[in-house]
Subunit: 461 residues, 2 copies
């Protein structure tokens, strides 16, 4: 069955873990638009950002010119405990599809956080420690990012305060317990421990919380407590920088076997995985060295690329965060409650938004029953139970491979398998019971979201 | 931090996956006692066993002389999808303990079944397929074995009928959904689908089931349906044979770096992991080529090695299975309900029982709060959230490493990390909430269990 020359799993050695992150902004002709202070509509300065974020992370956030940034030895040392992650040839899937396409995936789920999030969590925790901070705060929904950050903080002996959306805290207790096992302080949000939490609870006594509210609480604690800063697991340019290890490793692994992908596919929520996976390929494309088809895959129920507008908007529903220019559905947009597949963020990384606006990548949206069908097929033939998020990329990869079957083309497809679905079995159960539905927002739904986007000269006017 | 010569994770290449399983019985002077037919008290013949088990597996069960048995190419091919599993140097744990000991662990949790069980599941499914069977039946408690078997059956297109203890089916639905995602037919036991199930439900209308009852139902379905056989995930000698890949890979990996363990530690329930891990080391010990301290670690609440009797007993509480000579607490023994750490089987593999009786290995028991303390420490410094079962071995490894700290000895310790704890967060939650207790059975409790062991000349008389 297997192509003799290429193993199922290509493992690099620990020495081959990248020594530098790649900053794709350095090769972008059109730089991503800067974050704005919502009060002044002026680009945020390093000083302003440093009240919320660690200093070195602020530098990385603002650095648009340095192509390669050294990965500190302490971070590389931690990477060695779970990296390099394998680049896997999907022999089982190829056979099941009967396609002449050659399919590879970069698997980021083989660590306890269950996803690629750890790549940036350990970096952010390191810089917080280096700055002499006591701890960091963050928000989490189902808990993927919170788990990664808890692990990173345990490693560096940092206090980790996680505000977890109350409905997840109560109904999805397992990732909460993983975080607690790693010593994190997990508070259901909204809580009585913050001013904004108390205010929200007073206004909406029975609320089960939202990511926007949890962000507000986390930012409040970070800015009101000596020695704390706030950290975020996606969207930001610093996060995409850290996640470039995904793409760098995948590219090196494939090059060892003389393989060059024709198509690179990643799922897209806030953009952390997609941005990390495509970075080095996009770099070559930007520099005119190589061409790749690059495809972002998003849920049809939260279609920021494919149906959003490109405008400045708040990163959070609570409007405490800066304005970012991005493809957005409006910061008030919330995907239908029946959406089980993650990737719920209303906006998209500014870097990826600019690349998409410049026509350097494509975007498609897929419906969740089709996503879970792909997940089930993949699990059975590849032996890995994928995260619903990752399964968006699987769906697109399968569809491209089936096109190859029709045309007879032997295209090489690389996609990002961001994580495992062990904590998503409620969604799988729904699918197994054939109780999963699709929901695509109507144009009217979208207009409501767009209506909340701030209006100012040059934005939505 | 890291010893420059030895990486964190030693990965063998796919070519280095063992081509043969090692059958430790071939090197045992005192062979394990044969399985007996409980009606005749005579050793079970191949013919009798073939009514329940696949033919080739019966041959393996009875083969006490062939030291190396070829692994069929189809099984090796599947092994390549998740093996070789890494042999990991516990640099983080060593540093945290401040021990001069060098600690290694063989990690079997990096596949979707979450444990080593897949090593035997894929073998058993292969032989069932080869025999032209339609499917296999089995029982599962929390679902580790059932998940592994579901994955294996999905690969070979076999029907997989799993009887899952009702209380787990209802209270631990997540592994159930993993099994269903892999296409298994999962029935809560006792069920109305079997004669024995109906009988039990009539007698005990509100029962939430037991492993013994689930075994009885699985065996009934296997023997009453054309084209089905029953498969089991531990205890049997064939299972230890398949699991020898664990020890063979670990030994090869260490030898690459000139490392020879002084102590080999494994957790012990039915013995599948322990037997597999220690096999090649025990082989050298039996042949007088090398000496190793070999330590079985069991829960204090289910102490078959350390407090059981060595006698013939039923493998199941329902008394439908053969008699096996083993260290046993009596087939009616059930660990205290507060026991959360797995390894609940009342008996122990006949191979391991004989080796222990011959003084070739040691056994210790550990209490569950101490086990979860070890699990928490390990998770934080090694980044892997361990299964409670595996954490018994972690506890013992830490204790041995701390002894080295006292004495200054630089011993090399190898232990088996059988799996991950992602589906055990209820137990972790109990521990995190400081609501976990220890319970050690009294001598009186044990006497009750021993009273159920069959009496016949030479057994318990």
């Amino acid at each position: 069955m297997a192509d003799n020359k290429i193993p199922y799993k290509i493992y690099l050695t620990e020495d081959e873990i990248p020594k530098q992150w790649y900053n794709v902004r350095a090769d972008m002709k059109n730089k991503p638009a800067p974050l704005l202070n919502p009060a002044t509509l002026q680009p945020l300065t390093a000083e302003e950002l440093s009240a919320v974020f660690c200093e070195e992370l602020v530098q990385q956030e603002l650095d648009e010119t340095t192509a390669y940034i050294d990965i500190p030895e302490e971070i590389r040392e931690y990477y060695k405990s779970y990296r390099p992650s394998p680049t896997i040839r999907a022999y089982g899937l190829e056979k099941a599809l009967g396609t002449p396409a050659k399919i590879y995936y970069k698997f980021e789920g083989n660590n306890t956080s269950g996803s690629h999030k750890l790549n940036s969590a350990i970096a952010q925790a390191y810089y917080a420690k280096k700055q002499g901070l006591k701890g960091v705060t963050t928000e989490t929904g189902a808990g993927q990012w919170g788990t990664a950050l808890s692990m990173a903080c345990a490693h560096f002996g940092l206090d980790c305060k996680v505000f977890m959306v109350k409905v997840s805290y109560e109904q999805k207790p397992f990732r909460r317990e993983v975080m607690r096992t790693y010593g994190a302080d997990v508070t259901p949000s909204p809580s009585m421990t913050t001013e904004i939490g108390r205010k929200i609870l007073e206004e909406y006594p029975g609320t089960t919380g939202s990511l926007g509210c949890a962000i507000s609480e986390a930012v409040e604690v970070a800015t009101h407590n000596e020695g704390y800063r706030y950290v975020l697991g996606s969207v930001l340019s610093q996060v995409l920088l850290h996640q470039s290890v995904i793409g760098l490793e995948a590219k090196t692994a494939l090059e060892k076997y003389g393989v060059k992908p024709d198509i690179v596919i990643g799922c897209a929520g806030g953009g952390s995985n997609l941005g990390g996976l495509i970075s080095p390929f996009m770099g070559e494309k930007l520099r005119g060295e190589n061409d790749y088809r690059i495809i972002a895959v998003e849920p049809a129920s939260c279609p920021s690329f494919t149906r959003g507008v490109y405008a400045y908007d708040f990163c959070d529903t609570g409007m405490v965060c800066p304005l970012a220019k991005m493809y957005t559905l409006g910061h008030g947009f919330i995907p239908s409650a029946n959406h089980a597949g993650g990737l719920r963020f209303h906006g998209m990384s500014s870097i990826l938004s600019q690349l998409y606006a410049d026509g350097l990548m494509e975007a498609i949206s897929v419906e969740q029953t089709a996503v879970f069908e792909a997940a089930e097929q993949f699990a059975r033939v590849e032996g890995i139970l994928p995260a619903p998020e990752s399964s968006h990329a699987i769906r697109a990869a399968i569809d491209e491979a089936l096109k190859c079957k029709e045309t007879g083309e032997e295209k090489t497809i690389l996609f990002g398998l961001t994580g495992t679905g062990y904590f998503d079995m409620v969604a799988y159960e729904k699918f197994n019971d054939r109780e999963m539905n699709d929901y695509i927002p109507t144009d009217e739904d979208l207009q409501k979201g767009f209506a909340g986007i701030p209006r100012f000269p040059g934005n939505m006017d």
